[in-house]
Symmetry: C2
Subunit: 138 residues, 2 copies
DNA sequence: GTTTATGTTGACGTTAACGTTAACTTAGGC
DNA sequence: GCCTAAGTTAACGTTAACGTCAACATAAAC
């Protein structure tokens, strides 16, 4: 049970909970917690959870969402956008709205990010200047 | 006391705690909390806090840091980088290290962000496609 | 001089996202 | 058949970032 559970072919790869935990450097508790929140729903073999490639991808999306500062509930909705290409027109329009509002958040975040990077550049320049000054004084 | 406390000239502008709370849409409790954590240190007139332009800028930086997902303790260190242009060579080198590690975080975040934006574009395209399909079926 | 708005300092409450522990099951290795 | 590694559920604990409330001060407005 130290190796990935099974690996019959390329696409039917299957992972245990601790496989994923190791790969993404999180705890199994975290993965189960995400399942509790409706972000994952792996197959079961008896009691044990069995994850496929799609589950793994979802987990990746969750972790990226987290890194971007979204709450788990938001991430859930974003993932739902992801895997439902169907639905009625009304539903689709609603999805588009959700999506655009999330996009706006990211765009604002990008602005913050670029500003902060520029300020880091400024600080660095001033530090370098000061360092040269000090080495000249010596 | 409904107007900004005083406004003698352009640069000596001064704000009350609720001026800032209103401007940035946060509570006074939040501002006091940030002071507790060492992120702000306004003047006092008796008991009351008095904020100047520099305090206001610091608060802005704090809020941007938060939006970028940094913890308050990290933000504190980043701000300290900001207003100490001096110090010894050893200290400056240390600052540069801090700064570069923070920069790396932001660069990784930018990658996540661009990826997510691309995926949003994908989802939108698929939604639009599906909508056209539905309108054609009618 | 008393209401009213704004301010203050504690101190306890809350929420999200897990950590930690306990008590138990299950599948293989020897 | 027993041990160990990995898994399970359930429940309580923890931390950061505030919210909320009490009890009080102060200054302007009437």
């Amino acid at each position: 049970m130290n190796q990935p559970i099974r690996q019959l072919s390329q696409d039917s790869a299957v992972f245990s909970i601790s496989d994923l935990a190791r790969e993404f450097d999180i705890t199994t508790r975290t993965i189960r917690f995400y399942e509790d929140k409706g972000l994952l729903s792996p197959q079961r073999s008896g009691q044990k959870r069995i994850y496929n490639r799609s589950d793994r991808t979802r987990l990746k999306l969750v972790l990226r969402g987290k890194r971007l500062g979204f709450a788990l509930a938001d991430i859930r909705r974003m993932i739902e956008l992801y895997d439902e290409p169907g639905g009625e027109a009304k539903q689709l329009t609603l999805m588009l709205g959700q999506l655009n509002s999330n996009r706006q958040l990211l765009l604002m975040q990008r602005e913050d990010l670029e500003l902060q990077l520029k300020e880091f550049d400024d600080i660095e320049l001033r530090c370098q200047k000061r360092l040269k000054q000090l080495s000249n004084d010596a």
